[in-house]
């Protein structure tokens, strides 16, 4: 007997899906902003010969990049309470995303920083700019412009990765899907629709980030 698809069984769950998608978006916004901020700080720390800081940042980047996000999430959510640090589902999920994206963006932004020609920095030094001014205007902004596409894809990857946060009961989009399919027993239909939602979210996010990149970096050429 052939299976009868029944997408109408999803009606009435629109609010739940919207709420889940909203949480996925907020996780991504928090993770994206704080993760990139960590990435900038990390790239800065690795760009100078500070004895302790640079190797610590390097170790952080390698540990995060070589372990699965799901395990990082479980470690933060189930493991940290052993040290007396208790996190809620949303906090743990957001923290895991920040920590994860922080490591990747450190590596991506560092590649951009390294691509800045030495002469540019020397020229800025000869104009008596302070180290912080040099880092901001001469190194960071051109570096970010160069690596913006790579950074954008990483943010999209982290957004998609957030679907495993359902495993610690953070009520994001996948959690909503799991909940609905446990009610209407239409697993395939539910996951099909939610997969389409994720696809739409990732296309939208990529478009927004590319517009943001244009707004941030194109105008500066004239100013």
């Amino acid at each position: 007997m052939a299976y009868q698809f029944d997408f109408s069984s999803l009606s009435g769950y629109g609010d739940l899906l919207a709420k889940g998608a909203g949480l996925t978006v907020s996780l991504t916004v928090v993770g994206g902003l704080a993760g990139v901020a960590i990435g900038i700080a990390g790239a800065w720390a690795r760009s100078r010969p500070v004895p302790v800081l640079a190797p610590v940042v390097a170790a952080y980047v390698e540990v995060i990049r070589n372990t699965p996000f799901l395990v990082q999430l479980f470690f933060l959510f189930f493991g940290l309470p052993a040290l007396g640090i208790k996190l809620g589902e949303f906090q743990a999920a957001a923290l895991a995303m920040v920590v994860n994206l922080g490591a990747y963006s450190t590596e991506i932004i560092r590649a951009g920083v390294q691509s800045i020609p030495r002469g540019q920095i020397e020229a800025a030094m000869s104009l008596a700019m302070t180290p912080l001014q040099i880092f901001r205007h001469v190194v960071l902004i051109p570096a970010l412009k160069k690596i913006w596409p790579a950074l954008s894809s990483q943010v999209v990857i982290v957004m998609l990765g957030s679907s495993v946060c359902s495993q610690i009961a953070a009520e994001e989009l996948t959690f909503a899907a799991n909940f609905i399919q446990s009610r209407n027993f239409r697993a395939f239909e539910v996951y099909f629709v939610v997969t389409a939602l994720y696809l739409a979210l990732s296309i939208l996010l990529r478009w927004l980030l590319s517009r943001l990149g244009q707004a941030l970096f194109e105008r500066r050429r004239h100013g």
Partner: protein, 216 residues
């Protein structure tokens, strides 16, 4: 009640590590084979074929691996197949890997100068001959480092299969945690084992990248 000593925890995790490694190898080899077909279609002169494969890659890169797993798992059972978790896991990871590898390799093929295509077609080589004798050998050189780099993503991707009940390293970690109530230790060890699998691959990719860059 069975007591878990430290050595028992490590031993059980090591047993589960075999499945993580096996699944990674299967997905990587299967994904490589399917990825090669996707690549050929992606570079074909037929427009509909290019569009189709572009859509394929877009869907796999634009949706979570977890959703792909669920759809494979529940989709196959709709057709009336009783799928064990390992089969769904292997199939979904193979398709996932194929989409990413095809896109990585496309970049490498496109990095081969146009003149090489033109020269080989002026020698009356067919598309497949051009690929086999002229383009792929050159693209292969560029592809080695990013391909090994992606294998790290495949190993990490296998962790998600724990969610559909495949007992690999992460699932074993969860089960041992439930028995020992020592999440900090167990997940720490799980992370360590993944690191031991992935870090050598990362190092290898990095050093190959440096080597091939220096050669050019």
């Amino acid at each position: 009640m069975v007591e878990f000593a430290f050595s028992d925890i490590v031993w059980n995790l090591l047993l589960a590590l075999r499945w993580t490694a096996l699944l990674s190898v299967v997905a990587f080899i299967g994904g490589g084979a399917v990825g090669l077909l996707v690549l050929l279609a992606r570079l074909s002169s037929r427009r509909w074929l290019r569009r189709l494969t572009r859509g394929y890659i877009e869907v796999f890169q634009g949706t979570p691996l977890l959703m792909q797993l669920f759809l494979t798992f529940f989709g196959l059972s709709l057709v009336g197949l009783d799928v064990p978790a390992w089969l769904a896991a292997g199939l979904a990871l193979t398709l996932f890997t194929s989409a990413f590898l095809a896109e990585i390799w496309r970049g490498c093929v496109e990095a081969v100068p146009r003149g090489q295509w033109e020269a080989s077609s002026s020698l009356a080589l067919t598309y497949l001959e051009q690929m086999r004798w002229v383009i792929l050998p050159q693209a292969l050189r560029l592809a080695v480092a990013p391909t090994i780099g992606f294998s790290v993503q495949v190993v990490k991707g296998t962790a998600v299969t724990s969610i559909i009940g495949f007992v690999e390293l992460t699932k074993a970690g969860t089960m041992i945690t439930n028995a020992t109530f020592q999440p900090f230790l167990v997940y720490g060890l799980v992370a360590l084992f993944y690191f031991l699998l992935c870090f050598p691959l990362s190092l290898c990719a990095k050093s190959l990248e440096r080597k091939f860059h220096a050669a050019r």
